[in-house]
């Protein structure tokens, strides 16, 4: 089991099998880590918002810095109109970040390394942004596919390309996060396996690689959560402020 770098992504049932109709909604290790992530987020931010002292303590500072970080990200990319969606983007960023970071602890499960999880998030964002766009602009939202200043001859081609690029948004968004997480964790596992197989003599080189990779993966874990959130902001910006 340890030799296979993909076995870390196995989902297995914890406890009894739960079935609702034809669907299996059993509690799994993925569910466990989702719960761990959300509970730790709620705990940290609850502790960080409890007391309001002029000089914040560490946990309050953490909560407030995260709040202003996400708020600045949203106002920079999507403007002031995106304020009602702040809570959603904040939750999204924190959820992805905590899932990624918990995955960095050895023997844990990375929720975001599963395409189905990232795809559900991305699809929800895609549908939500499209609905917001149509509510705000009506059928004028379709102007998104017609960039200004394009010669009439090229227009049919450009519109097709724009539509394809728009429709591929949920796929690119979900695959980016999933592939980054899976690739990083697989690489770490492989190098870890090399350390064992090369033993005390030759194992030092892959071990040093492993150490370096751990640092890189922590960076990637943060960066991918950031990218996921900022792309959501950019899509939201398209829906709120039609620029074409």
């Amino acid at each position: 089991m340890a030799a296979n770098p993909m076995s870390q992504f196995d989902v297995y049932r914890i406890g009894p099998e739960i079935k609702v109709g034809a669907f299996d909604i059993s509690f799994t290790n993925a569910s466990l880590f989702m719960i761990i992530s959300t509970v730790s987020i709620l705990l940290i931010f609850n502790l960080g918002s409890k007391k309001n002292s002029i000089l914040p303590n560490k946990i309050q500072l953490l909560a407030e810095l995260s709040y202003t970080f996400v708020a600045k990200m949203i106002s920079d990319t999507a403007g002031s109109k995106a304020k009602p969606y702040f809570a959603f983007i904040f939750s999204l960023f924190m959820f992805v970040l905590f899932c990624n970071m918990f995955g960095m602890i050895p023997y844990t499960f990375t929720v975001t390394s599963h395409i189905i999880v990232t795809f559900v998030l991305a699809a929800f964002i895609f549908i939500g942004v499209t609905v917001i766009g149509f509510i705000k602009h009506g059928f004028g939202y379709l102007k998104l596919f017609v960039p200004s200043g394009v010669p009439a001859v090229l227009l049919p081609l450009i519109v097709v390309i724009e539509i394809i690029s728009y429709l591929s948004r949920p796929i690119s968004l979900s695959v980016r996060l999933f592939a980054n997480m899976m690739a990083g964790h697989t690489m770490m596992k492989v190098f870890g396996g090399f350390v064992i197989s090369l033993g005390i003599v030759g194992g030092w080189l892959p071990l040093s690689f492993s150490v370096a990779l751990t640092g890189l993966e922590i960076l990637v874990a943060f960066l991918q959560a950031y990218v996921f959130a900022i792309l959501t902001c950019i899509y939201l910006n398209d829906a709120l402020n039609l620029h074409h």
Partner: protein
């Protein structure tokens, strides 16, 4: 740079995925749909609860905290500014008071000096007058004495002469004839004794 690393990672990951496909009969666990519904269900449940709690309870509190802190800091800054202005005006007042008292002290000093000078002058005048009077009186006395001196000398000369004559001759001599001689002599020699 970081992008490049990602691209490499993705390429590498595909390499490993192929390996895994070759090694395992099951392939990527991600593509096994057995637990997809369970994952979606738990994702929606946990994320939904977290979103609700964050948006309804926690985030408003944090934003409230930030706002109240901001306003409090602004208030404090305003109060500090006001106090600074107050202290500046007070400092100005203090400076003015000091300036005023300085000029007052100066003028008082000048007045006192003038008064003292005046007093001294007045006293000196009085003294000068007194001295002048005294001098004048003394001069008058001296003048009187000087005026009287020839008469007295004459008288003494007459008496002395008469007594001398009496002793020498033994006879009484008429005073009036002696005085005539003395007067005559003194008139002739007066300039010799009184050089003025």
């Amino acid at each position: 740079m970081v992008k490049k690393i990602y691209l490499h990672l993705i390429f590498l990951s595909f390499f490993f995925i192929k390996e895994a496909f070759a090694a395992e009969s099951g392939g990527m666990p991600q593509l096994n749909p057995e637990f997809w519904v369970s994952q979606i269900f738990w994702l929606v449940l946990t994320f939904g609860i977290m979103y609700l709690v964050l948006s309804k309870l926690i985030l408003p509190k944090i934003s409230n905290n930030l706002e109240s802190r901001k306003s409090q800091i602004l208030e404090n800054i305003e109060a500090a500014e006001k106090q600074r202005e107050d202290s500046e005006t007070k400092l100005k007042e203090y400076d003015q008071i000091i300036l005023k008292s300085k000029t007052e002290a100066n003028s008082m000093f000048n007045q006192a000096r003038e008064k003292a000078v005046k007093d001294i002058n007045a006293k000196r005048e009085v003294l000068d007058k007194q001295i002048d009077e005294e001098i004048a009186k003394a001069e008058k006395e001296i003048q009187a004495l000087r005026d009287n001196a020839p008469d007295k000398i004459n008288k003494i000369a007459i008496e002395t002469s008469s007594e001398l004559l009496q002793k020498l001759i033994g006879a009484e001599v008429n005073n009036s004839s002696i005085s005539a001689i003395v007067d005559d002599l003194s008139r002739r020699n007066g300039d010799k004794y009184y050089g003025n």
